[in-house]
Symmetry: C2
Subunit: 141 residues, 2 copies
């Protein structure tokens, strides 16, 4: 296969890769959807009881800085992050109301209307909500 873009192999950029950071990146990568730092932190501590929240916060901040993770919203007061493969490409997110899964979605905005209510529009944020295939077809909770 073609060689991976550099940052895919170096989620921390020039930063050092410690066991904790490796764990954070690994768990974030395999996380089924979006997560709060708190949630990720719990998962990290299951595998490394000594890992502290502060470290996870710092690791997540480093990953977000590299664009390897993305802020995708908030859930009752906590910031939601998700591993986002879409990179720089203009996209949005669709959130499953059932399981919390988050995926990238095409931009559903019709015409990039440049003026609304007299405002000159330069950018927009869209979040779609619904049910993922599993939650939609599976038996309701």
């Amino acid at each position: 296969m073609p060689q991976q873009p550099d940052h895919a192999c170096r989620p921390y950029g020039a930063g050092r890769v410690t066991p904790q950071r490796k764990l954070v990146a690994q768990l974030a990568e395999s996380w089924p959807g979006a997560f709060t730092v708190e949630e990720l932190s719990s998962a990290v501590r299951e595998q490394d009881r000594a890992a502290s929240v502060a470290t996870v916060y710092r690791a997540v901040a480093a990953l977000a800085e590299q664009g390897w993770l993305e802020r995708v919203g908030e859930r009752h007061g906590s910031v939601l992050f998700a591993r986002c493969a879409a990179g720089e490409h203009h996209h949005h997110h669709v959130v499953c109301d059932g399981c919390g899964r988050v995926e990238a979605a095409e931009c559903p905005v019709a015409s990039p209307a440049s003026t609304v209510s007299g405002f000159v529009i330069t950018r927009h944020e869209v979040t779609l909500y619904g049910l993922c295939p599993e939650c939609a077809t599976g038996t309701a909770i």
Copy 2:
């Protein structure tokens, strides 16, 4: 003019109208855009030094409950509220990057596409960003 809908005159619904609540509603009404509770609270305290943050939080919560105020996002960790005249009608918000002004905007989502990435979409949130007429025509900051 036709008589105002009831809630327009009674922002607190059946709740009691105290001087503090009157002040909160008044300031929110005349606020040029969206505000955090903290900002509103500061403004309230300028006119009533004894008013406490807790009271403002409670008043804002009551107003939001009545649909008289609306959560329109967040600004560095704080919830943003705005007086919203659009009421129940499906709409979104356009935020001025210059002055922070917030106005209701038509829904720019093309077709209410019911499926995206296999998800069954039930609702969406859109926020537009740009410059309001004043900030767009006025000299750049």
